[in-house]
């Protein structure tokens, strides 16, 4: 390998140098924690590096960075709210069942992955799916809970399965 900087890499370096400070400031105004903003800004550039987007082709680099940043920000809030709900549920459990922190995080990671998998499904479809998968409710039970027909639940379930399977293709 030579040490020569490839043109694409050069563009990235320029972009990083010119706009990182701006992006971090942009994120900081939308978040309360400076460390989180710095992390997300870093993530945004990492995403850009990993994407197939040719940096030299970017007409409006800041608009592009803001778009990616916004998406990461939304994900960040989703993860944070999931984590919060998870910790609240954990807090309801008696103290004498003490697991290792490692196991706790494995479970959280699994839940976050599934949360992302389900992202984008309409609320009733998501609920029907969760009731079926996690609580083992029958389609009839779910139909009653949601006050819709069993046919609709069947459609919801097919939609949810298809959505999740497509993500993993």
């Amino acid at each position: 390998m030579s040490d020569a900087v490839m043109p694409e890499e050069q563009s990235f370096n320029d972009l990083y140098r010119d706009h990182r400070g701006w992006l971090e400031g942009w994120l900081r105004r939308r978040m309360s924690n400076g460390h989180d903003a710095a992390d997300l800004s870093q993530d945004t550039f990492v995403r850009l590096l990993a994407s197939s987007q040719r940096i030299a082709d970017l007409q409006e680099p800041r608009a592009y960075l803001a778009t990616v940043g916004k998406r990461l920000l939304t994900n960040f809030y989703k993860r944070r709210s999931l984590e919060q709900a998870y910790l609240n549920a954990l807090a309801l459990l008696p103290e004498d069942c003490v697991p290792s922190p490692e196991q706790r995080w494995i479970l959280l990671e699994t839940l976050q992955a599934l949360d992302e998998l389900l992202d984008g499904l309409p609320r009733p479809v998501r609920r029907a799916f969760l009731w079926s998968q996690l609580e083992g409710l029958t389609y009839q039970d779910i139909a009653e809970r949601l006050s819709v027909s069993e046919r609709t639940i069947k459609r919801y379930m097919a939609q949810a399965y298809e959505h999740c399977l497509l993500v993993t293709l």
């Binding site: 978040m31 309360s32 990993a50 994407s51 809030y77 944070r80 709210s81 999931l82 984590e83 919060q84 709900a85 998870y86 910790l87 549920a89 954990l90 807090a91 309801l92 459990l93 008696p94 103290e95 004498d96 069942c97 003490v98 697991p99 290792s100 922190p101 196991q103 706790r104 479970l107 699994t110 839940l111 599934l114 949360d115 389900l118 998501r126 969760l130 079926s132 998968q133 996690l134 609580e135 083992g136 409710l137 029958t138 389609y139 009839q140 039970d141 069993e150 639940i153 069947k154 459609r155 379930m157 097919a158 939609q159 399965y161 298809e162 999740c164 399977l165 497509l166 993993t168 293709l169």
Partner: protein
């Protein structure tokens, strides 16, 4: 980062798999549907792949502790502001347990196998059959005689169809030619559930009869009871899961205690509470904790082996 877009064929297979699965789970599928599903799965490798992926997906959800997962994944929508303001609070701890089934690498011809309370075991027999023992179970096997005696507890037996295997119970015999069956021996009867294929039953009294996949029946001293349908897709002890669907808590706890060494007691007032969910059997302490999180009860452990459930104070 992301490879090429999935092919139209893969998308179509996924869509069809999703629809098949919804049909199967809806409870409205008939024999013909099942046969058509099989044909569809066999007709193309992409179909079978999509179907297997869907099963993996179901399994991922089945492995989760349902109360915790439900609280997390079905959380109310919150504004960013609320999320941030609350920050990350104090953390309680809970064990996350994953099924570790003990796989014995033996080729067994004849043996007396036994599991302790809370233990599971999987054995591959020399003829290619596979045998799983549930908690507190015992079997005597003699493959040369194509014979297996269920002394106590519960087994799942899968026979590839080279020659029939006979399971002998206290309440009759089950002949498995090709298929998969669960047999559970109790004090007063024996429950037979067919998961795949079909089996032939020989009760102590009354004529022989066949039982198909998706059907179960109880054999008693007086003969066979009525044949009932059940959901073959529902995960069970073989996956390390205890499922409850609007089940009286008393029944659930009696079942649970067969997986727990030691004493588990509860106040009669709790008997009629209802439980719904799928629970990992690997850690029964955690199941109790989850019950306490979702029902008005408290867990009092004198030791790990002496546990009492009481109605929660200040609850109605």
């Amino acid at each position: 980062m992301i490879g090429s877009a999935p092919s139209a064929e893969a998308r179509q297979a996924v869509r069809a798999a999703a629809q098949w699965l919804a049909l199967m789970e809806s409870g409205s599928a008939n024999e013909r549907d099942r046969a058509e599903l099989q044909t569809w799965r066999n007709s193309h490798s992409s179909h079978e792949q999509a179907w297997q992926k869907a099963q993996v997906l179901r399994q991922r959800f089945a492995e989760l502790p349902s109360a915790l997962a439900m609280a997390s994944l079905d959380r109310p929508q919150e504004s960013r502001r609320t999320v941030l303001k609350r920050g990350l609070g104090a953390v309680a701890l809970v064990p996350a347990a994953w099924l570790i089934s003990r796989q014995l690498p033996l080729e067994v011809w004849s043996a007396d196998l036994r599991t302790a309370t809370g233990e599971g075991k999987t054995v591959r027999l020399a003829d290619g059959s596979s045998l799983q023992l549930n908690t507190a179970s015992a079997v005597d096997i003699d493959l040369k005689k194509r014979w297996l005696k269920l002394v106590e507890g519960e087994i799942a037996l899968s026979v590839p169809g080279i020659s029939p295997l006979t399971v002998q119970t206290h309440f009759g015999q089950v002949v498995v030619s090709q298929g998969e069956v669960c047999v559970r021996q109790g004090q007063t009867g024996c429950k037979v559930s067919v998961l795949k294929g079909a089996v032939r039953l020989q009760p102590l009294h009354g004529p022989d009869f066949s039982l198909q996949a998706g059907q179960q029946v109880s054999l008693k001293a007086a003969g066979a009871g009525a044949i009932e349908p059940f959901d073959v897709l529902a995960p069970g002890w073989r996956e390390g899961v205890l499922m409850a669907q609007n089940q009286p808590l008393g029944d659930f706890l009696r079942e649970l205690s067969s997986y727990r060494p030691g004493v588990l007691r509860w106040e009669p007032a709790l008997e009629s509470l209802r439980v719904t969910g799928s629970f990992r059997l690997q850690d029964t302490d955690r199941i109790l904790a989850l019950l306490a999180a979702s029902l008005p009860l408290e867990v009092h452990s004198r030791t790990r082996y002496w546990v009492t459930l009481l109605p929660r104070k200040n609850s109605v």
